[in-house]
Symmetry: C2
Subunit: 204 residues, 2 copies
């Protein structure tokens, strides 16, 4: 037992690592907060408390509310993209396509999508937020498109293939929206099965 004091422990962890861990805790707390309470209920103070970090430390990492929440959505989106690629380490194989499509749709049904949606909708009325979120949305959208093309083994040099994949991701976002107020899982599963069959045929 004896125990190790906080000061002792802090000394053993390099400063840079501690700073990175604090940043990560703040980002994860910010996404959870946005998903649960929406933009109006999400401030730097609320997130700092949730993350167990002082308000000053939070502001050291993220000087403004906009900095914190756009960084948070981007961070979690990157984490999810990495996890998605890791699910299919072999990349595209025709027999995996339905599993890939289901996994792509899953990107839009969890807390990250809820959080992103709150940020998105708030940005449509707040001039301070709008350019940041527009830029973030386009960056994350491009990356998701790249992953989809890779994992589906889609040949974008063929006419229509690029738009086929884009339409799939638009449908996935629409399914995410349909899941916002109620659990739409059973219907979603049937729609995804049918669209996966259509896509499989269209992608050849």
């Amino acid at each position: 037992m004896g125990g190790v004091s906080t000061a002792d422990r802090a000394e053993r962890v390099p400063k840079q690592d501690r700073s990175r861990a604090t940043r990560q805790r703040l980002l994860e707390a910010a996404v959870a907060c946005l998903a649960e309470h929406g933009w109006a209920g999400s401030t730097v103070s609320v997130v700092a408390e949730r993350a167990g970090v002082s308000r000053g430390a939070a502001q050291h990492h993220f000087p403004t509310r906009e900095d914190l929440f756009t960084a948070a959505v981007e961070y979690v989106a990157e984490e999810r993209s990495t996890a998605l690629r890791a699910l299919f380490p072999e990349g595209a194989r025709a027999d995996d396509r339905r599993a890939v499509i289901a996994a792509l749709v899953d990107l839009y049904t969890g807390p990250l999508f809820r959080a992103a949606l709150h940020l998105w909708v708030a940005a449509s009325n707040e001039e301070q937020l709008r350019p940041r979120v527009t830029e973030l949305e386009s960056r994350v959208g491009r990356e998701t498109h790249r992953i989809a093309v890779d994992l589906l083994g889609a040949d974008e040099s063929r006419p229509g293939v690029r738009e086929t994949v884009q339409g799939l991701l638009d449908m996935a976002r629409g399914l995410g929206l349909a899941n916002l107020l109620t659990d739409d899982g059973a219907r979603r599963e049937r729609v995804v099965a049918q669209w996966a069959a259509l896509l499989d045929e269209a992608l050849g």
Copy 2:
């Protein structure tokens, strides 16, 4: 020019019609307000002023904020459904299908969708709003699905056809979301053209 006093004019218009016209002005102002300012900026007072109606008259028609905004989204959705059916009075004809799909997607790119989206997202965090909006969403969604099936001439007795149409409407909602912060019209047109071709084939 001589002119007719407001009192004279009021007397000639039956009271019931005036009441209906006031109600309609409030509903249209409520949707415009929600689309422009979001839920946080949308109150009964703001809408009453925009509609040129006294706050008391507004509250006579709509006792609560929730009453006003759910009624407004429902009213405008019905107007748009009627207009959509009127665009294709002949109903389903195979060569019209791409036009029907484009018109269905258009339902989700204007002020009504923006307004509905604000209400939807607000409802996900507000217990008072949530059951009302859930019920409204399901009613409007069912009606849109019926119109889509009719206008596309889709035979839902064939396996997969129901889910094909549902997926199309989910894609349309996703395209609406992608149009929230930027004008996504050019990309959307290409996606819709490609999916209209795929869906035309799938629906036979």
